[in-house]
Amino acid sequence: MTDIDITSQTMDGMGPHGTKVGLLRVLGPAHVWALGVGIVLVGEYMGWNFSVGKGGAFAALIACWFAGILYSCVAMIDSEVTSTVASAGGQYTQAKHIIGPLMAFNVGLYLVFAYTMLEAANAITAGYLFSVVASMTGHEAELDQRPFIILVITFLAWLNYRGVLATLTFNLVITAIAFIAIITLFLSTSGVLGGGIMEHAALFEGHELPYGWIGVLAAMHFGLWYYLGIEGTTQAAEEVRSPARSLPFGTLAGIMTLLIAATLTWFMCSGVLPWEYLGDGVSGSVAPLFDTARLSGSTALVWLLGFGTLFATLASANGCINDASRAWFAMGRDKYLPGWFGAVHPKYRTPYRSIVFLVPIALIFALGAPLDQVITFSILSGLLGYTFMPLNIILFRRKWPLDTIKRGYEHPFHPIPAFTLLGICGVTFFAVFLGYGTQLVAMIGFYIIVSLWFHFWRYRFVNRGAQFTMPWPKPKGY
C-alpha cells in the first residue's frame, strides 16, 4: 500500500470504498443554476427559431409552452431521483440503480451525445459570430471560421481540465450577463421603458398558422431547444457540497429562469422579425435576438446582444464539456467503458482523461457536419433520455415506495407528471418523424447495435453486485 500517505489530504486511504483521489466537492447551488441555465440559455439566442419555420410564430409559442410543461416534468422527476442518487453520471447512475445495466449504458450514451453534439453546435455558432463581427468591422475576405471553432473547444476543455470551481464560476458570470442582456432588450424594445417597437398584430396578419395545425405538431421538434440540457444539473452531484438540497433548488430555479427567458424571447423576436425570416435559421435569422437588437436602432443594444450571444454559446459549450465528461467518466469507473476513463487528476481533481478524449469527437462534429443535423442529433438523444425518465420514476416509486428511503425532494401529483411527460415525448417523436425520419431511424439503429454490443461483449468486464452503491434496502419484488 505504498500509494497511501496518511498525512496527505488526498491520499490518506480513508475513502470508504478505497477512493484515494476523487472529484472535489466545492460547488454551491448558484453553480448548479449556472450549469443548468448556462447550457440551455444559448437555445434562446439561436436554434429555437427553427420552430417558427416549422409552423409559424403562434405554433412556436404553443411549442414553447408545451415544451415548458415537458421540461417542468423532467425537472421535478429528476429532482426527486437525484436528491437520492447523488453521483456523477446523473441519470446514468439513476438508471443503473433503478432499471438495470443496459438501460444505464444507453442513458449514459444519450447524455454524452446530447451534450457533445450541443457543444459542437455551440462552437459552430461561435465561429459564425466571429465571421459576422469580422464583416461588420470591415474585413473584406471571407473569415476562416475553423481556427475560432477549434479555439473555443480547446480553451473550454483546458478550463474544464484545470478544475471545476473555476469552470463553473466562469459559467455563472457569463450566463448572468447573457440573461441580463435578454431582460435589457425586453425592457427597451417592448415599451416598458420608452417607446416600444413591437408590431405583433401587423406582422402576424395573414400568417397566423401557415401550415395549419400540423405545423404546431412539427414545431415541437425545435420547441425542445428552448430548454434542452437543463437536466444536466445532476452531473454535478459529486462535486456539490450538499447535493440533496442544492440540486433540486438549482434545477427548479433554473427551469423557472428558462420559462421566463423563453417566453420573453419569443415575444420580442416575433414582434420585430417577419416569420419567414425568423424561422429560417440558415439563410434567415441565425441569431434572432441579435437581429432584433439590430432592428431596434440602438448600437448599444447591438453590442450587448452580440456579447450576450457569444457568452451564451461559450457558457453552453463549457457546461456541455463538463456534463459529457462526467457521464463518460462515470461509465468508465464502472467498466461500462474501458476503465482507463475512470481516472481523476490528482491535482485538479477532474475526470481529465474523459475531458481530453471528448475534444477530438466534438471537433469532428463541429467541423464536419451542418448545424441543423448536429442540433437534430442532440435533440434526438435528449428525447430518448426524456422518454426514459417517466419509466425511471414509475419504477423508482414502485421498487422503493416513499416510506422506504428518505428523499431530499418529493415531486407532487405522481404519476401525472410521468404520464404527461410520456405523452409529450410521443408527440415530439412524431414531430421529428415529419422532418428527420431517416435520422431518427439511423439513430435508433445505432442504439440497438451498441446495446447488443454491450449486452453480449462489454458487460463481462463489469462487477455485478458492486455497481449498486446506494445504501438502500432491497427493492420490492426482487
Binding site: G53, I99, G100, P101, M103, N106, F113, E199, A202, L203, E205, G206, H207, P210, Y211, A218, L273, P274, E276, Y277, G284, L337, P338, W340, F357, I361, G368, P370, Q373, T376, T387, L391, F429, F430, F433, L434, G435, Y436, G437, T438, Q439, L440, V441, A442, M443, I444, G445, F446, I448, V450, S451, Y459, R460, F461, V462, N463, R464, G465, F468, Y478
Partner: protein, 125 residues
C-alpha cells in the same frame, strides 16, 4: 450466490473497444448525410415572376421589416415562399413506431435480466 469476478481488460482490448464505439458514433451521424437522406429541405412550390411585396403576400409592416433587414422582393423571394412538405405515408409512420417500441422493449428486457443478477448478488436471495 457466487460472486461474478470480471476478467481484467488489457490495454489493447480497451483501445479496440473505444475505436468500435467511435466508428459506430461517427457512422450514425454521417451515413444519412452521405446517402443524402438527411434533413428536411424546403422548396418553393409556385415561384412568382417579377415579385413585389404584395405578390409575396406581405403587408406594409412586413415589407418594411424586410427592407430594414436589407432585402428586396427579389432577394427575399425564396426565403418567403419556401415551404416544408409534411406529407408522409402511414406505412413509414408505423415502421417508426415499431422501431421505437422494439428498441425500448429490447433494452428493458435485457436490463431486467441483468438487474436481477445485480440484486441477487448485492442482497442475496
Amino acid at each position: 450466490m457466487a460472486h461474478y469476478i470480471p476478467p481484467k481488460q488489457g490495454k489493447a482490448s480497451q483501445l479496440f473497444d473505444v475505436v468500435v464505439l467511435v466508428v459506430l458514433t461517427v457512422g450514425s451521424l454521417f451515413v444519412p448525410l452521405w446517402l443524402n437522406l438527411a434533413g428536411a429541405a424546403k422548396t418553393v412550390a409556385s415561384p412568382v415572376e417579377n415579385p413585389t411585396w404584395e405578390a409575396l403576400g406581405q403587408n406594409a409592416a412586413q415589407a418594411a421589416k424586410y427592407e430594414a433587414l436589407g432585402f428586396t422582393p427579389e432577394t427575399a423571394h425564396d426565403l418567403i415562399l419556401a415551404r416544408f412538405d409534411y406529407s408522409f405515408s402511414v406505412g413509414a409512420l408505423l415502421v417508426m413506431i415499431l422501431v421505437i417500441v422494439l428498441y425500448y422493449f429490447l433494452i428493458l428486457r435485457f436490463s431486467e435480466s441483468e438487474y436481477r443478477e445485480v440484486i441477487s448478488e448485492k442482497f442475496g436471495k
